[in-house]
Symmetry: C2
Subunit: 582 residues, 2 copies
């Protein structure tokens, strides 16, 4: 009993599991990873806060309490939860849609709160499966489009324009022109320097370090700390040459010192309703991305991710963001990879990262005041440009037109109309195309491989045995409302061409379900066939399908038709009683 209660507690608080088995070896890995990730997270957090149209501390605060909560509740050992670029741009679009005069910061906290509630409710109902409706092509199209929107939104920062709070895509060309006229050369210089440093610190630096004798893993980790180097170099340049006051270079500015206010203003029902659709999508998209990263890494070590516990953990992290002044959070891909490749073995690394970021927020915000926004914009642009997956889109199109269409529809919808409209379009399109495909199922006429009990499609194999008085049709699909009319027509057409036909056997080996519309159709089919002196039989009906059918009028009124165990049995029985094969 104690053991069982214990197991249940451990499921609710996974930290108890890995915490109890924590080793000295784990500690050394977690220490380095915690420090490296914190180095990345400070500039990233500020950048994502700005990207969301919020003050930079909204991103920084999202990197303190939420990851701590996740560390206690999450089932992934290495997922780095905190502010992420995609959630940031979704927040920016949601805020842009608010009625004028709304308070952006409190609305962002409200989004985190609502997203947290959505995730917790889904977790309590064990509905993690709902996230699957965001299919791979939907996510891929969405991510590419979101990356492009993010880059466009950051360009003015990089070029030294005062960025409008929200950038409608249609205005991008006009703003670009304006940027060329009002170009702030020192800002452009800092931006270009940052981009160059970041690009050089990727593959080129790693290769150089490896050539100098470092292991590939360590070289990768050092490469990933480039954002700190960029921030340090550009901030020193700003401070040294007084680029901010003297030359109009935009900087982060004075951040509040100390920890965030813990608290949360209770909003009105109307505001809740206005923000709910955005919060729902932020929650679902963040959840799907987090779980897919977590699963990928867990698989490498035969660890398991519990999708329903992840709902609870990410829900808790978002509530923590809401009460501690942070924007909505999720698991970030690039930061998780840095954490993992720097040697993180448990969420202890995350705890260390959070404490370090908290220390920065508590004592060192004055040092951050002169970080140029152009450097942060460069960090974001370089990071998200890797998310634009043109190759994947071409692959999807080649593999399957439907998947390609869904991807393209989502991409264009997100880019041209907006994130919510685009995602909704993608989900609806994937559902419709799914049912559409099921509405015209493959129907194969079967014949017997001579001398065997195996039946195959007569169109794919030569010299199969067939019988003029027996037609065996295998239907490769659920029977349901979407295809029952089509199947009725198809079957009657195939029967029409065979004057000697006496028996139609529907081979149900690929039929995984029969809904009410299809049941009606089968009844009508049996009746129509009877009028044409053809008897309907079934064969190879699966267990679960038969359980469902056996009490229906269809089976009870099928006689003289029968339900055969196999196509072989059907032919043996029917050919024996009927005329000889022709």
């Amino acid at each position: 009993m104690a053991q069982r209660r214990h197991g249940r507690l451990e499921r609710l608080l996974p930290i108890l599991g890995w915490g109890r088995a924590y080793t000295r070896e784990d500690l050394s890995g977690d220490l380095l990873a915690g420090i490296v990730t914190a180095i990345l997270l400070v500039p990233q957090g500020m950048a994502f806060g700005l990207l969301a149209g919020l003050p930079p501390q909204a991103g920084l605060y999202a990197a303190i309490l939420p990851p701590l909560v996740y560390a206690f509740l999450g089932t992934s050992r290495t997922l780095a939860v905190g502010p992420v670029s995609v959630a940031a741009i979704m927040v920016a679009q949601a805020l842009a849609g608010l009625s004028p005069g709304a308070d952006y910061v409190s609305s962002a906290l409200l989004l985190a709160f609502l997203a947290g509630i959505v995730l917790l409710v889904l977790g309590a109902l064990r509905l993690g499966v709902l996230a699957n409706f965001l299919s791979h092509p939907v996510l891929s199209g969405f991510t590419s489009a979101a990356a492009i929107i993010i880059i466009l939104a950051q360009l003015p920062h990089l070029l030294g324009l005062t960025m409008p709070k929200h950038l409608p895509l249609a205005d991008a060309p006009r703003l670009a022109l304006e940027a060329l006229r009002n170009l702030n050369l020192p800002t452009l210089g800092l931006g270009a320097l940052s981009v160059m440093l970041l690009l050089l610190s990727g593959r080129p630096l790693e290769r150089a370090l490896v050539r100098a004798g470092m292991t590939a893993a360590h070289a990768g980790v050092i490469g990933k700390t480039a954002p700190l180097a960029v921030v340090l170099v550009t901030t020193f340049l700003v401070a040294g040459f007084r680029l901010d006051a003297g030359h109009g270079v935009a900087v982060v500015g004075t951040l509040p010192t100390g920890l965030p206010d813990f608290g949360f203003a209770v909003p009105g029902l109307e505001t809740l309703a206005e923000l709910f659709p955005s919060a729902l999508l932020i929650a679902l998209v963040g959840y799907v991305e987090s779980v897919s990263i977590a699963k990928t890494l867990a698989n490498r070590h035969r660890q398991t991710i519990d999708p329903n516990q992840e709902l609870i953990a990410l829900g808790g992290a978002n509530l923590a963001a809401a009460v501690s002044g942070g924007m909505p959070v999720a698991g970030g891909f690039s930061r998780t990879m840095v954490n993992y490749s720097a040697g993180a073995r448990t969420q202890a690394a995350t705890i260390l990262t959070a404490l370090l970021v908290g220390t920065v927020a508590l004592f060192f915000t004055p040092a951050l005041a002169q970080v140029p926004k152009a450097a942060l914009a460069a960090i974001i642009i370089v990071a998200v440009s890797r998310l634009i997956d043109f190759h994947g889109a071409v692959e999807a199109w080649r593999y399957d037109r439907h998947d390609g269409l869904v991807l393209l529809g989502t991409f264009l919808g997100v880019l041209l109309v907006g994130i919510e409209a685009g995602l909704t379009l993608g989900v609806v399109l994937s559902l419709l195309l799914y049912v559409w495909r099921a509405s015209r199922p493959h129907v194969a006429e079967l014949g017997r491989l001579p001398g065997s009990e195996h039946f195959r499609n007569v169109k794919r194999y030569d010299h199969l045995e067939t019988w003029p008085e027996i037609l065996l049709l295998r239907v490769d699909e659920h029977l349901n409302f979407a295809n029952s009319a089509y199947l009725e027509e198809t079957i009657m057409e195939r029967v029409a061409g065979r004057p000697r036909l006496k028996h139609l056997v529907v081979v149900a080996s690929s039929i995984n379900g029969v809904d009410l519309s299809a049941l009606e159709m089968l009844g009508k089919l049996a009746h129509s066939l009877r009028l044409a002196d053809v008897t309907l039989h079934l064969a190879e009906v699966k267990g679960p399908v038969m359980d469902h059918l056996k009490h229906t009028a269809l089976i009870q009124n099928l006689a003289p038709g029968r339900v055969f165990l196999s196509a072989h049995e059907a032919v043996e029985t029917l050919a024996r009683h009927g005329p000889k094969p022709g």
Copy 2:
């Protein structure tokens, strides 16, 4: 060549087909059926016009030109196209939703016009299959709810209240109370008499006639002409006792003499947009009902219905309604059954019916002026009460909770919110539940029937052969975005409990498709299994699925995994190379 061109023309004008083969025998059947159907159609047409909130002639005119057009274009020999009760109540609800001051008659013509265009466009695109998205439970829930709405809308007529143009359901109790207070006794008397006559002329009259020596078919036909008897009797009573002027019995009133004006006012874009959603649903519902009636009867005679040509024919009929002062039309169930059982063999019967109704509209409308509305209300109420299918709802619920839910949702939606909202709810619900079901597929572990090549579910059969180093899993579903995460987890869980496992064989006999999300999942699965020293194999992959998969990285990187023709081959190969069965 001439032959082929000829066949194409016949497909566009099916009348050329049956017209050329027309026999004297056909003529005698068609003559009687044409007359009997006309007798039913005159009172029905007026009643449906009133039901739609229009003057009675809108129904009468819909019974002249539209059936003539259908007779030339339609592929059904016996479908009776014209005004129908369900389309009438849909028109009534659409008109009720219009901005105040709209012209009801011209809006109804516009609905017919738009419905016609929708059907023609769908026909030109050969998209008849779209109608399948209105599944059986959606239609059943909708029809029952529509019947209840129609009956509630007709009650005031029956009780002699001045009916408001549109009856909100919530007002029904209040109106009923008012009715009790303001009861018009002569109207109530006529209504009760009509209902009684109609009920008696159903089963009781038919039985009596059969007992008197008539054939069941003829007795049925005579029973179906009861509406004319009701109209005649009650009209004589009204005329004889001056019930209209003297006692406040509502009558049809003076109808315009002569044929309708041919013509059509061109509407503004705004009006078109306002009416379009209603027109779309009227078109789809009417189409689905018409085709299902037509198919049922065609099956009895091994005739075929071309669903795409039916779109053209019904589209043409609705355009004809729009230009000749008629409300939207469809194939009517009860009238088609009367036409069929009275002996109709071709659409010549319909042509005769239309000419007879046209003659009435041309010369005899003065005689219709004193038809009491209560009699028409009684005809409608008795007819549609048969459409309330409580038994079917219980059956649906018993057969399948999902189908039951869709039916109930549509029923409640239509009854409590409105026809359009209810139908939309039903369609969305059926799509979602469909994908939901596909998201948790049945996965069966297979074992071999000893001494055979047959593999069965180990949970359903005892004493099957299994192997500790081989696991055979049959997945009973498409692999797609909705279920790939679930399948990955399920498969990894089943693998986790088997330390000696070396080979996992996915038996794909029930897999009818693999989408991009699932393809990714299989790649990840193969990788995860490899890390656990388990090799992934496939077996019994269907031809169309293999065609799709064979050029993908999955199959190219499957080695040392293989694609086996059958589960038997997989076991024979893998067990031979692996350790002996334990």
